[in-house]
């Protein structure tokens, strides 16, 4: 249940920021959020409280249209039941305890170190040549590849749970908003100098 609430909070945070951002303004944003909440609430009420899924499986489970969907529907019903009695997410923690922590072998770490070293040599080497504005693009591209390897293997994000990935992704998401709005602002007001002439 707590995992579900965590994800829901992230979703609400994203909606609350995104809706006003994309041109609706603050007041219409609140209205949209309320409507979304109302839609989700009514859906929840219909499906869970009236037991629509149970009724569907019981009444029309034999019909050729519904029969292939019955296992999936039962799965959804089980999830809803587990949310209702508060066991949702608890099983997951027990499961991960069985697996223990993923230990990455040294050879992988050494490989990542080699990639980082090669990336550094490429960045320094390319900077000695003149590709005009492409120099920045190449340097940032190589830096992003290096950063991804650090994140995925040194920081174990590849084997981490989805929650930590979402947390980290949300950080980059908000940075992207700041970055893109600044770029739009600057490059619509001035003529940027991207490359320099040789003399």
């Amino acid at each position: 249940m707590e995992e579900f609430v965590n994800y829901a909070l992230y979703f609400i945070a994203c909606v609350c920021v995104l809706v006003p951002l994309f041109g609706l303004g603050l007041a219409p944003g609140i209205i949209v959020n309320l409507e979304l909440a109302a839609i989700l609430g009514s859906l929840y009420a219909q499906i869970v409280e009236k037991g629509l899924i149970k009724a569907l499986i019981k009444d029309k489970g034999d019909s050729p249209m519904i029969r292939p969907m019955v296992p999936a529907l039962e799965n959804v019903q089980r999830t809803i039941d587990s949310i209702e009695d508060g066991t949702f997410g608890k099983k997951k923690i027990d499961k991960s305890e069985e697996h223990g922590h993923h230990i990455i072998p040294i050879s992988v770490y050494a490989g990542v170190l080699a990639i980082l070293a090669i990336g550094t040599i490429i960045t320094v080497g390319v900077a000695q040549l003149d590709f005009g504005p492409w120099n920045t693009v190449i340097a940032m591209f190589v830096a992003t590849i290096k950063a991804s390897f650090v994140l995925l293997f040194f920081m174990h994000l590849k084997y981490d749970n989805a929650m930590n990935k979402v947390i980290f992704g949300s950080g980059f998401f908000f940075l992207l908003i700041l970055f893109s709005f600044s770029v739009i602002d600057i490059y619509t007001r001035i003529k940027p100098i991207l490359g320099f002439p040789k003399f």
Binding site: I93, L116, T120, N135, T136, M140, L151, I193
Partner: protein, 241 residues
Amino acid sequence: MSTVKTESHFHHAHHFDSAEHQYSSAKQGIWLFMVTEILMFGGLFVAYLIYKSLYAPVFHVGSSYLDVKMGTINTFLLITSSFTMALGIYFNQKNERKKAVISLALTILCAIGFMTVKFFEYNHKIHLGLVPGKYFNNPEFVQKVADFATNMQATSSSYQEIDIAALKKIAPLYFGFYFVMTGLHGFHVIIGACLIFWVMIRTAKGDFGSEYYTPVEGVGLFWHIVDLIWIYLFPLLYLVG
């Protein structure tokens, strides 16, 4: 009575379901902290982008004043330290305490090496008067920026809009960015090295093992973020002026 502790005997706190639950909660907290770090440095990177777009010649001449060789040495020191930090966690997971302590000690050595190189770089800059704000005292740099912009205007009519007087006035700003960004990063390196020293002592005391190594993992995440920021900082400041 003396007992030799061969493995850590860890019991999770009562408000957690299990040791795994406690571990993942601690790690989630560290990741949230990492997000704030990225947003803090991200703000500086965006400010750098804005001013670089506005006053490109200043940043071009400014980056030629930085020593690429020293920057490259520092990059290699930091990526090596990230590797040894990862090994420090690995050997803790494998219950090989001695190797873990050696890996963590090597990480601290790399951090000290990084700060030593940084010291010589800063010393040189301060000696030349290349410091931010009102303490800036290097007319030669300002003249170089002005000459560079004049040369640019001579090559193409598309550069006529460049305001040389404004460039001369804003010139010290490059070193403002240089000192704030590398300084804040260096501050993180010092704090990170102290934290690694702390987990190294605790590893040597036998507090950690395959059952419990959360502090090592958390400090490791912090150290890798320091490396991650330098991976972007190095090309931005030293290479793509």
